[in-house]
Amino acid sequence: MDLQVEGLALDRGGWRLFETLSFSAQPGEHVALTGPNGAGKTSLLRAIAGFLRPSAGTIALRGGAEDPATRIHFLGHRDGLKAPLDARAHLRHWAALLGGTETGDVIGRLGLDRVADLPARTLSAGQSRRLALARLLVASRPVWLLDEPASALDAEGKALLNGLMDTHRAGGGIVIAAVHEPLGAPSQTIALGL
C-alpha cells in the first residue's frame, strides 16, 4: 500500500493553490505538510481523502482493491462530535459507520475515563480533540490524514498523539499531517505556498 501524488494542481475559489505537486509515501512514512495559512494544506488533505476534485494531476492509493474511501481516516479541524452524545456513543457510532471494531480500552488510552459518560457539549476543546483522535483507533485504516491534529492538545495530549502516530507507522501505516508546529519525526516535509 503506498500513496502516489503526481503533477497535482488544486484550485479554491478561482485561485490556484499550487500546481505540479508530486510526492509519494511508502508504508511507515510520516509526511508533514507545512506552509503559511491558505497555502493549501487542508485542501491537499481533502483532495487525498477524495472530497475535492484535483484541477490537474492524479492521486493514487495503490495496493488493496477496495474502495479508497475505506482505507482513509480523515481528522479535520472540526471534530465531528454531536453535542448531546457521550464519548462511548461516539465510539460505537464510528466503529459501525467506518466498519471497525471497538477493541480494547480506547477511552482509557486517550485519557478520557473521567468524562466518558458526559455529553460532548461539556468537553473542553482538548478533550473533544482527544475524542476525535479516538476515531483513528476504532477502525483500522492504513492512511491517516490529520489536519492540525495537535491543536488544542496539552503537552500530555501531544505526547499521546505522537505515540499513536508511531504505533501506526510501526504497523505499516501512512501518516500525512498538516502542521504549523513540528510534530513527531516526519520522514519527509512538503512545504506548500513557496
Binding site: 472530497f51 475505506t70 457510532h93 459501525a96 459507520l97
Partner: protein, 224 residues
Amino acid sequence: MSILRATAAVFRRDLALAWAAGGGAAAPVGFFIGATTLIPLTAGPDRATLALIGAPLLWLTAALAALMVLERLFQADLEDGSLDQLLLSPAPLELLVAAKGAALWVAIGAPLALAAIPMALAMQTPPHAAPVVALGLLVGLAAFIGAGLFGAALAAGVRRGGVLIAILVLPFFAPPIIFGASAASAAVEHGLFTPAFSLLCACALGAVALGPIGAAAALRLHLE
C-alpha cells in the same frame, strides 16, 4: 454486512439525536399540535365548516411542520464535520442519506400521525375516517421528507436556508398534498382504499426512491 451496519448506525444516531435535548423533532410535533388545536377556535364551532376544512388544514400544517426540520438536517453535519465521516464509510452516501431521512420520518411521523387522530376527531371527521387521515399523513410525511432531503442538501451550505428550502421543495409537496387531502375527504365514504390514497403512496415511493440520490449528489457538491 458492513454496509448494513453503517446504515443502521446512522439511522440509530439520528433517531437518538432527534429526540435528545435540542434535537429537531420536538418543534415540528409541537407546532403541529399547537396549530391544529387553534383551527377549530379560529373557524368557529360550525360542524359542517369544520368537517369541510379539517383534513385539508391538517395536511397543510403537517407540510409546514416537515419544512421546519429540514433546514438543520444536513447543515449541522456539514458544520461539525460529521459529513466528512459519512463519505468515508463503506456504505454509499445515498444509503446513509436515506437512513437519515428514515430516522427523521420515524422521529416526527409517528408522533404526528398519532396526534392527528384526536385532531381529526376535533374537526368533526367521523371516527371511522380519522385513522385513515392519520395513516395518510404518515405516508405523506414520507413523501415530504423524501423530496425535502434534496432541498435540504442543496441549501445545507446557506445560512438561514429555510426559505430557500421552502422555495425548492414546495412544488414537490403539491402532489402528495393534493392526493392526501382528497384521500382524507374520500375516506368518509370509501374508507382507506381509494384511488387518491394509491396515488399518494405512489408519490411517497417516488420521493423516497429519488430524494436520497439527489441529496447525495448535492452534498458532494458542498464538500468541493
